[in-house]
Amino acid sequence: MSNTQISAIRKATVADSTPRETIGQSISRVIRSNIRNSVMFLVLIIVFVVFAVWSKGTFVNSFNLTMLVAQTCVVGVMACGMTLVIVIRHIDLSVGYMCGFLGAVAVILMETVHLPAILAIIMVVALGAVIGLGEGMLIGKVGIPAFVVTLGLMIAGHGLELLSTQKTGTIIANNAFFLQLSNGFLPPIFTFGTISSGSTLVIGVVGVVLFVVLQISSRARLASHGLVVEDAWWFILKIVLVFAIVGFLVYKFATFNGISYALIILGAVVVFVASLQSRTRLGRHIFGLGGNPEAAELSGVNVVKVTALVFVIMGSLVGLGGVLLASRMAAANPTAGQGSELLVIAGCFIGGCSPAGGIGRVTGSLIGALIMQSLVSGMLIVHIAISYQYVVQGGILVLAVLFDILSRRISAATRVVDQPPATPAVVSA
């Protein structure tokens, strides 16, 4: 029997083996294969509803949501970088203290050295990148574990942060442009009825429409290439869910101060890192390196370069996070940013980054960061003692990773292996 004959026979068997499934089976399959992401959204919604009820509505009022978003922006920007770091199987413990330190440097550059704000910001982001390069080289080239390098930097960062504000204590930032970054809002342009920021409404509507159009066109493109696409009902449900969440937030903002500049910056960072992940060569190399370092290296991936670049991106985003933090607090403060590394790392794990590496999307990490920040903010509003807050945060982190591992087992178990090969009839030829 010839090779092509065998192929033909096997193809036929493969084609025959897809029976039609019932609606119930379809729902169960979709939930199983999307369990990780669907639960993430579910948890976010539950957290919102629980705190909304518990705080008798305070948690979801416009003022608090605006505060929540302002806080999430700092953590979210750094979570974007941390996602890449975790995907390549490393960790960066230093981001909390370093963002406090770099924010202080920005304020000092403006207030003491009297540099223009924009120059100070660029220099701080560049400084973050250089520090990241150093980390990346020590980890990727020399081979010191990331845990050790970044723990050292975390401790050193604590010292640097104290040192930078030692002489003067808290340094107040007065530069108007700088303060606008975290505290300013897009000009409303027009108002009507309860809508106090017309620009926010427009951006919100355009954003949602753009999202839906992109989703539909990407689905259509995949289908046109004959690739498997998500079930229609799940696809629509997803869009409706996103529409509901974004619509709710946009309405809340549009009736209050509008969209903050920090949120726009966060949006830009997310778009940048997300397209890096999904559409560039570096993004592929990052996933390859995280998924199987040896295979990646033997496929021509430059391990040192990719590791260094990931830490450079992480460092720059820590610099940017520091700028946003200092802007929000309008000062260089000796304790700024402390402990935020926990929110960043936990956000990534809750958002679906695998602790074993190779898996993790920046959009998920952003949701994770929002969940963590909502817990912090919500518990504060309902007056839970700070000591309990830490216990809850820690518990949530471990639960998230536990859930991650369990859900991966479930979806792995439901995967269909390809047709086993037919009995080798070739031998007798």
Binding site: H225, S275, E297, S299, T423
Partner: protein
């Protein structure tokens, strides 16, 4: 079964009888109705080619493959055993020593000997007793080294003996050694064999798996040959002298079946790739692993590299392909006549060299990603438009190679980890076809895949050389070497032992050179 069992002269007192052992992996029958009987107090040598099933058989025996995952019976001292784990078989008095030693390098010898079964008194480790017994054990094994020396600081030969000491301290009745002498010097080998003779005198039964037929001849009471997962013969070496050619004939003598696609042997072109006086030093092992290798491959030629496990074939491939293990290499390398040196695998890929790894799961594929991702990983540059990967182009190109090597999966977006071995191997091939290499290095290209998929891989190889590509194929399967190669290099202990034309070569001739 076509075996010619020779009845032993003395009354049969078997310590171990393995009866009708069959073990299947998806698509492969690793053991097929194997019978293996070991008499009490003998040294029993188990020989066979790579992949003949020796290691699988020992894994069945030791409980690595637990009861229920194989068919057949294990009878120890007349009683049927059902081992569910290694600790079960150890409790029954069976100890296996693998080629990769299971010692903890930083711990001293005496702690290693009793690691896992520490001598306790009142719940605490009794260090005095540990030291006393360790010293006695070292005397018994004729090791004159301070028991407090960390294991990493003694030679491989002594490490091997420490491992044996560890087994003996557990009151072992049946000691199994898997290729114990592969990494040893002549003197250490001789020493080890003497120790085994003494243990035999003490009444310990020993099964020795070895490729080195000279030492098999020197020490065996019985020689059992496995081939393709079947027991071929069990020969009593106490009754008569068994000569090497007889063993080799039993190891390799399979019926030649036409599993190789026919190929038009065109006259090969110019030399595409060449290494001269290529040596490599492995800093981890602290020794030279490749010695003055001279090798070339012409355009449109398949060059086979045969040799036993540990002959240095994979190390040769890795040292050429970007030297990712950071060996100290010396010698010259030429691509199309021009001297080259690949400082990283990325440079090798740029110079249009590709390497399909021996172990696709460990270092060949990113299992958690899909087919498309894996296929495009080595040559994403081709897909870029501006900074971004052109998705339609990526899908179209992946599709093309998906069809070209005929991967059977639901789509190019199926996760590679869910594919069968044969289809995974085709993905490994396809990913290297995209960069259109001039030289393709294949390391065990058909390991662990079924005969049908093998045939398809061979067809792909023939197509590639017909298009002018050069292939270096490392393989442990002699029929594959003979069936596919134009020219054959035989490696032995880090050197090229011989070069032959495939037309003149035979399995016996290759095996003779490989055993060295």
């Amino acid at each position: 079964m076509s075996s010619d069992q020779e009845a032993p002269a003395v009354a049969d007192d078997f310590i171990l009888e393995m009866q009708g052992i069959t073990k299947e992996f998806p698509g492969v029958k690793a053991l097929d109705d194997v019978n293996f009987k070991v008499r009490r107090g003998e040294i029993h040598c188990l020989v066979g080619e790579n992949g003949a099933g020796k290691s699988t058989l020992m894994k069945v025996l030791s409980g690595v493959y637990p009861y229920g995952t194989y068919d057949g019976q294990i009878i120890l001292n007349g009683e049927e055993q059902r081992f569910h784990s290694i600790s079960d078989s150890e409790a029954a008095g069976i100890a296996i020593i693998y080629q990769e030693l299971a010692l903890i390098p930083e711990l001293p010898i005496h702690e290693n000997i009793f690691f896992g079964h520490e001598i306790l008194r009142n719940g605490m480790i009794d260090w005095n007793e540990t030291m006393t017994q360790a010293k006695a054990m070292l005397d018994r094994l004729r090791i004159s080294v301070n028991p407090e020396t960390p294991v990493k600081d003694v030679s491989v030969g002594i490490q091997q003996l420490v491992e044996i000491g560890k087994a003996l301290s557990k009151n072992v009745q049946l000691l199994i050694l898997d290729e114990p002498t592969a990494a040893l010097s002549e003197d250490d080998c001789e020493n080890l064999l003497n120790i085994l003779r003494e243990l035999k005198a003490e009444g310990i039964t020993c099964v020795l798996i070895s490729h080195k037929l000279r030492e098999v001849q020197a020490i065996a009471d019985t020689i059992t040959v496995l081939r393709d997962g079947k027991t071929i013969t069990s020969m009593d070496a106490t009754a008569r002298k068994i000569e090497q050619p007889e063993i080799i004939k039993n190891m390799v003598g399979r019926e030649i079946t036409n599993v190789f696609p026919p190929r038009e042997h065109v006259t090969p072109g110019d030399i595409c790739f060449e290494v001269r006086d290529w040596s490599a030093y492995d800093p981890k092992q602290g020794r030279e692993i490749l010695h003055n290798i001279n090798l070339n491959v012409r355009r449109g030629e398949i060059v086979g590299i045969a040799g036993l496990l540990g002959a240095g074939r994979t190390e040769l491939a890795l040292s050429i392909f970007g030297n990712t293990r950071h060996y100290g290499v010396s010698g010259e390398m030429f691509m199309n006549g021009a001297p080259v040196r690949f400082g990283s695998s990325a440079k090798a890929v740029d110079s249009r060299v590709a390497y399909v790894t021996e172990d696709r799961k460990r270092n060949g594929l990113v299992l958690m990603q899909d087919i498309k991702f894996n296929m495009t990983l080595p040559d994403l540059g081709k897909l870029l438009s501006g900074p971004f990967i052109d998705e339609p182009k990526e899908i179209a190109l992946s599709r093309r190679y998906f069809d070209e090597v005929d991967i059977r999966a639901r789509s190019i977006e199926q996760i590679v980890g869910t594919l069968s071995g044969g289809n995974q191997q085709k993905v490994s091939f396809a990913k290297w076809l995209m960069p259109e290499p001039e030289l393709l290095i294949l390391d065990e290209p058909t390991r662990g895949i079924d005969v049908g998929a093998k045939y398809e891989i061979y067809c792909i190889m023939n197509d590639l050389v017909a298009k002018g590509m050069s292939i270096i194929m490392i393989s442990s399967e002699l029929p594959e070497i003979l069936g596919m190669s134009d020219r054959i290099y035989v490696m032995s202990e880090g050197s090229i032992a011989d070069e032959m034309n495939a037309a003149d070569a035979t399995e016996e001739a290759i095996m003779h050179k490989a055993i060295g």
